[in-house]
């Protein structure tokens, strides 16, 4: 990558394919069915071996590691983050029908836990004796290792990177991919993220006392915390040239994005949502659109008291009284942390593809401070531009706009 290369003709960024796995399905089709039938994926823990198995509902992918391995035909003992990632990334590439080896291709994945699911097994033995614990369980600990495993599976050698900006990670991965294509540095980028449920994150969020013991109720007055989820979501981004030469579908265009920092507190959002506000505002600015052009917002909407009030305040401040359709799909999937931006980017593309908006399950009563009523039903409507928000620890706020091609 040259630092001083003159600007070439800037390319648009097409989404040519999407892939997703979460608590509500192992494919785009299953996901669509779940939306249409209001089928939430939140329920009791089946696979994660934890003391909280019977007290904390989660959005678990309904396949064990063994089942995932068999389905994918990969070698045993991969981390769950890698398995989920390989599954969704393969789907996205197949959906795009692009031959990645013909182009300068890259993989940018996001994860917050990496191989933690195996590391926590290792650690209990290691704590008793530092010579104990199976090294196979830590060999894939690093976040970057899961990306490496996905890249090796897809046969991508040209460019790989991993983003970890906590819960906003995947949107930042897509943002980097879009920039690389816009500036002509890569032709094809598989971008998104993957995160598995682990005891580490479950206990982490539990120690912060922001997990709801019941299925979560984003944007509801009675909301009482989030449910953790897991999964992976990837989009295949291609340049104008690839789009034309390979006669690919353009499911959507990445038309705007922004990454800002709330700079308020390590974990809590500012009361006026200054970080979320500027992320949405700057994303709009880069897209050249106005608030009236946005037809649907896929909210970050975790279901915590703090996030939903802060995000809702920022949305209202930016959009005024005429809000577009908006919903948090985390009532379906749970909060999938570093994967959420990728999964929800897929949901946003699906919204453009099906000219439909997705419901905010379990909503009954608006937050008294804001009076925002999210989308309650699946509804067919004209959807030209979708905004998707992701915010995380460390003040990281990102917003992306996907538009009908």
């Amino acid at each position: 990558m040259l630092t001083n290369r003159p600007d070439t003709l800037k390319s648009r960024v097409h989404v040519a394919g999407v892939g997703v796995i979460s608590a509500i399905g192992v494919s785009v089709n299953e996901t669509l069915q779940a939306f249409q039938h209001y089928r939430s994926g939140i329920g009791p823990i089946n696979f994660l071996n934890t003391a909280h198995q019977h007290s904390l509902p989660v959005g678990e992918v309904k396949l064990s590691n063994d089942q995932l391995e068999k389905k994918l035909g990969v070698k045993p003992n991969l981390t769950r983050t890698a398995l989920l990632g390989i599954h969704a990334a393969r789907q996205a590439v197949a959906h795009a029908r692009v031959k990645i080896s013909n182009w300068r291709s890259g993989l940018i994945s996001a994860t917050t836990v990496g191989g933690m699911d195996k590391t926590e097994n290792f650690f209990s033995e290691f704590l008793q004796d530092t010579q104990r614990g199976n090294l196979h369980d830590v060999v894939n600990h690093e976040c970057g290792k899961s990306t490496m495993l996905i890249a090796d599976d897809l046969g991508i050698h040209g460019f790989l990177s991993t983003v970890n900006t906590a819960c906003s990670s995947s949107v930042n991965a897509i943002m980097l991919g879009a920039r690389l294509i816009t500036q002509g540095m890569l032709d094809v980028v598989v971008a998104g993220g993957s995160d598995a449920l682990t005891k580490f994150t479950l206990n982490g969020f539990n120690s912060l006392m922001i997990l709801d013991g019941e299925p979560c109720r984003p944007f509801d007055a009675t909301r009482n915390g989030l449910n953790l989820g897991e999964g992976a979501g990837f989009v295949v981004l291609v340049s104008d040239r690839v789009h034309e030469q390979e006669s690919l579908d353009s499911l959507a265009l990445v038309s705007g994005f922004a990454n800002t920092n709330d700079a308020f507190h390590q974990t809590a959002s500012s009361p006026d949502g200054r970080g979320p506000y500027s992320a949405m505002e700057q994303a709009l600015k880069t897209s050249g659109l106005t608030t009236a052009d946005i037809h649907y917002i896929n909210l970050h909407g975790t279901g915590t008291l703090n996030n939903d009030l802060s995000e809702g305040t920022a949305v209202k401040r930016l959009f005024g009284e005429h809000l577009p359709a908006l919903s948090s799909t985390k009532a379906f999937t749970g909060h999938t942390l570093g994967a959420s931006g990728g999964i929800e980017a897929v949901f946003s593309v699906m919204s453009l593809m099906h000219q439909s908006v997705w419901p905010n399950l379990r909503f009954a009563e608006a937050m008294p401070e804001l009076g925002i009523v999210p989308q309650k039903t699946v509804e067919q409507m004209s959807v030209k531009n979708v905004m998707s928000n992701s915010f995380g620890f460390g003040g990281n706020c990102s917003s992306i706009i996907l538009s009908k091609a």
């Binding site: 090294l135 991993t162 920092n261």
Partner: protein, 353 residues
């Protein structure tokens, strides 16, 4: 991209006013740990109290770079870290297991995420701009630089704070040792290249302030960044040649090669061949006997290369082959366990050359 300021905390005396590597820090174990400043001079003690070591290292190195660049608030913060905040991760994991998942203190969990350094810098500086963290082994710093390239091509006037940080913890060292990564007996890190197997563990934090606009006090410029994932010898040579050609130079124009030789010939071979075959007329040197091997070691190399260009002098502790050439183009060629290869080309900003 022009380097406006740097801040580096490493196993060497790399901060303050010391002459570049005038006194080499030595250690006789299988790890090199940072020579740390008094953090109270940089960070308010009430904030310092909760910070783990990697956060202190990273935040302070970032603040040092901003000070040298003479700016108070950058237009973006981009951090690379291979392992993230290992100490807080280990603390939370340990407590979680020992307490059987009950009554846990959330602080180490909160601070365990990889973006804590970038987040803490944003919080201290009240920097609400772009904030990004990459964690791709020994591409973490390089990813950050590529991101900077993209941003500065969009808007060259921006000033971005970019760096890398990794820490050694007791647990991480014990685990990596079991993988057989390190030399068993080493009298001093200066003997890293004397035996064939194993490297030495390292750590550090190093930040630079980059802008697309040249100024009167630039330390050096970064001309190219390229990553090569599991390349064949031929692909690596081709990639390096292409990158140099695009910069308008030949391999013979490279005055000094700063090589990421690790001391373990199982992973050093390819780099050794490339250096010998492509850069026979260049001076060359190593840096990992000074900082150790870790995913973001290239941020130490970046600091070292820029200082070499700025001071127009290659320290004795670094140089291996001296062809007596004046130093205008420095090429960092790094490798990490034979998997990650990268290049960073720097150029002198000295007007007299």
């Amino acid at each position: 991209m022009y380097i406006k300021g740097m801040g580096t905390i490493s196993p060497q005396q790399s901060w303050g006013d010391e002459t570049l590597l005038s006194q080499i820090m030595q250690s006789n174990g299988d790890r090199l740990t940072c020579y740390e400043p008094e953090y109270e001079q940089w960070i308010d003690p009430k904030n310092l109290r909760r910070m783990s070591r990697i956060i202190k290292l990273g935040v302070t190195a970032g603040l040092m770079a901003l000070k040298e660049a003479d700016i108070t608030n950058p237009d973006g913060i981009i951090t690379g870290t291979g392992y993230g905040c290992l100490d807080d991760t280990g603390i939370f994991l340990t407590k979680m297991i020992l307490n059987e998942e009950q009554a846990l203190n959330p602080t180490p969990f909160i601070q365990s995420t990889h973006n804590t350094i970038g987040g803490q810098l944003a919080l201290l500086l009240q920097c609400q701009h772009y904030n990004q963290t990459y964690t791709q082994g020994a591409f973490s710093v390089e990813s950050s630089l590529v991101d900077a390239v993209l941003q500065l091509r969009e808007n060259p006037t921006k000033k971005l704070l970019i760096g890398g940080a990794d820490e050694i913890t007791e647990a991480s060292h014990a685990i990596q040792k079991r993988f057989g990564f390190f030399k068993k007996e080493l009298n001093t890190n200066l003997e890293l290249f004397n035996t064939p197997e194993g490297t030495i563990n390292g750590e550090g934090a190093s930040f630079v302030v980059l802008s697309g606009e040249a100024g009167a006090h630039d330390i050096a410029s970064i001309e190219a960044v390229q990553m090569f994932y599991k390349p064949s010898d031929a692909a690596l040579q081709k990639g390096i040649t292409e990158a140099l050609t695009q910069c308008g130079i030949d391999p013979s124009d490279v005055d000094f090669i700063l090589s990421g030789k690790s001391g373990d010939e199982r992973s050093d071979g390819v780099l050794q061949n490339v250096t010998a075959e492509m850069f026979a007329s260049s001076s060359s040197g190593y840096f990992k006997h000074l900082c150790g091997e870790y995913p973001t070691a290239s941020s130490f190399a970046l600091w070292l290369a820029a200082r070499i260009l700025h001071e127009h002098h290659i320290p004795d502790a670094v140089i291996v082959r001296n062809t007596g050439r004046s130093v205008k183009n420095v090429l960092i060629l790094n490798q990490y366990f034979g998997t990650y290869y990268s290049l960073i080309l720097l150029q002198s900003c000295r007007a007299t050359l």
